[in-house]
Symmetry: C2
Subunit: 274 residues, 2 copies
Amino acid sequence: MEVKVARQYGFCFGVRRAIQIADELSAPLTTYGPLVHNPYEVSRLEGKGVKSSLDIQEIKTPNILVRAHGITPSVMEELKLKGKVIDGTCPLVKKVHGIAQMLDKNGYKILIFGQKSHPETIGTQGYIGNRADVIHNTQEAENFSGDYDKIALISQTTEIIGEFNEVVAILLKKYPHLRVIDTICEPTKENQNAAVELAKESDLVVVVGGKNSSNTRKLMLNCEKITRAVHIESPEELDKLDFSGVKILGLTSGASTPDWLFDKVVIKAKELAK
Amino acid sequence: MEVKVARQYGFCFGVRRAIQIADELSAPLTTYGPLVHNPYEVSRLEGKGVKSSLDIQEIKTPNILVRAHGITPSVMEELKLKGKVIDGTCPLVKKVHGIAQMLDKNGYKILIFGQKSHPETIGTQGYIGNRADVIHNTQEAENFSGDYDKIALISQTTEIIGEFNEVVAILLKKYPHLRVIDTICEPTKENQNAAVELAKESDLVVVVGGKNSSNTRKLMLNCEKITRAVHIESPEELDKLDFSGVKILGLTSGASTPDWLFDKVVIKAKELAK
């Protein structure tokens, strides 16, 4: 069995940046919500004195770090009353806030392709008075209606381009004047493209990432369309996998998976492959 | 006959800004190409000592103004060797340069919806080593082919949103992973929307603007789909029009048409309507 690693995987630069800030700031520090959707990385940070809380009243540390997903302006104000706020919002997410505000100011009905309950979408909504509708799949796009002279579609930065464009195609039939601004970020696209390339040459792809990580699940979905794929959180889970018939084993990881964890999976996989 | 004026018409803020710069700068001044595609405004500026030239070697004035359409970086360098360059490039066009560069840097094949020979598109191409393909209509979109993992579509800022989206729909069939970034500017859309609203309630729409103005021609095309429409350059041309059966006369003007000229048309139309 040969082990192949995707040409691009793991932390996007926004997450890397937020974690670097957490590592460099002297604890005690609280992050507003878990810094990444990965239990191992969160636990590593906890070991260094980095707490996580979504309950503002519970925050007792002088330093508060906003994670890469971003927050609403009103949560930002509340946090500022509690301590010194360090903004770890991904610059690419900040760009989306700016685009949403520009569209809103210019009278557009805004549709966001994404998940209503995802922190990034909640944050973006906060910049436009929650006036956007959130569409999560083609069915919701089919069901969407209303008479809008000005209507625009943007995306959560971590969505899948193919699915975004399926929604575009449906909406264009109803709104030929739809303004489409594809705000899916480059690092997300790069990880997805690399995963697809890897899947094409692998008999099995192992995707490493938190079970609560939406972008890891999406990598998994992309791979599953092409070959056999499994989603694991830790190196130990490799032991339970069935490698029969696997000549090439592909390995990749989501944007919230730390390299130190992925590297352990690679080492263990190479041992198993011997 | 009642005369109605569009709720939005005329100079976009980018053109207004470039003309204001020309008016405020002390002559002698040369603009690199006519500042607007309108012979009357160009002639007014000439009266103030503002020359226009596209032949860099011919430029003899100490001050050189770059018009709203923008230029390539290499033309900018050449101009700088000739005199003091004042950059009148529209900030919204500059944004498109930035988006094109970002896409190019990230390995995208870029398609520009626009006109190959339009100064704005020539300028944008200059920022990406002329690597973009320019698509001007649905037929060219149908004919476009090639195998691209990363492909993106942007637009000249002055295009028609409905036509842009027809091209989007065609390209999405070939490239489900197409990245669509609608860069048509708000002022263009506002003029177009207002013209369409006006056309819906008018028996005849008179569109005022230079015969060489691409955005004026597009306003005209939008109106023609709905009602009778004519394109004139000067108030005198009103005399030649047939107003029989016209109960409501709509008036609008392109983004390169100065208000002083449009106002003359409005006054004359109101006299004729008495």
